[in-house]
Symmetry: C2
Subunit: 152 residues, 2 copies
DNA sequence: CAAGCTATGTCAGAATGCTGACATGAGTCA
DNA sequence: TGACTCATGTCAGCATTCTGACATAGCTTG
């Protein structure tokens, strides 16, 4: 029963809508980053390092929502191409603090501007109040999703 | 200037928060789907077919936010394993309408329940009003992101 | 009717990300 | 001190997804 014209609760699912929004954001970011020869993860890594110099590979991975193995591969490429530097030896423990080179900083500038304009566009139709609401609501969702199994 | 403890507007970026929420949702979904031997895209495809029987490969791809090539690979696997069926010849045009088999429907049942519980958990801390707000806001974001270059 | 445009299905190769595994450095605790 | 636990960096192999390309079906337009 219920075949064709049914309610189709994909249309009312906040999970689906969240995925849709995230997908749209990713597509829009890829679109502006492609001309700069940069992927979203690539950009995320540089932006993280710009705002928090000295992050380790594992910390960058968590910040960019990828595994540390994935970030490691990316970091090696970025290091080889002269966008970031890491000391040969860890000052403490095993964690190697990464930093942007001048070249990395330069490369990030255009990308950062492009991404900010994408984000600004995304928020164009929203009032400041709505943006605050969105912030609060998304935070709550994240908290609920993570707390479910970490707390148990 | 401004090195360590700076504002770090990743903390205030709605784009970053959106990515974080989406990542948390994906992780939570993978977690409950893994025991069922199902990936998120796998599940998405079955759920789409359950709610809208007869969708074509390209339509499924758009609904699951992947390319039609990716969905084609998945569909071939699902067809081989007896979860979906497609006619040998297209009734019209080239589009092959796909449908769930009884086995596919059975397999989807547990997965659907699991995913719904994840979504319910995600919304646990939110009032009905907040959920409506979230819905409206996400819709606006999607509209703004897509309209930017499709309208130009 | 013919040409052009768009959408579709599909194959092939490349890029990207993940899981598994191992070794190392640091903190904890008996 | 020695064993245990945890986090880290890294290598290797695999899975997933993407881009590029091609042929075909249907519509549109002159």
């Amino acid at each position: 029963m219920s075949q064709e014209g049914v309610g189709v609760d994909l249309e009312t699912s906040l999970g689906y809508l969240l995925k849709e929004a995230s997908s749209a954001l990713r597509v829009a970011m890829e679109e502006v980053l492609r001309p700069l020869g940069m992927s979203v993860t690539h950009y995320s890594c540089l932006e993280l390092l710009a705002q928090r110099p000295g992050l380790s590979n594992s910390e960058l991975a968590r910040g960019a929502f990828v595994t540390r193995q994935t970030m490691n591969v990316l970091l090696q490429t970025l290091e080889r191409d002269g966008y970031v530097t890491r000391p040969a030896e860890a000052p403490v423990g095993k964690a190697l603090p990464a930093r942007l080179t001048p070249r990395g900083r330069r490369s990030l500038e255009k990308a950062s501007a492009a991404v900010r304009s994408v984000e600004a566009g995304m928020l164009a139709g929203l009032t400041g109040t709505e943006q605050s609401e969105a912030f609060r609501i998304l935070r709550s969702m994240i908290h609920s999703l993570r707390g479910a199994d970490e707390g148990a």
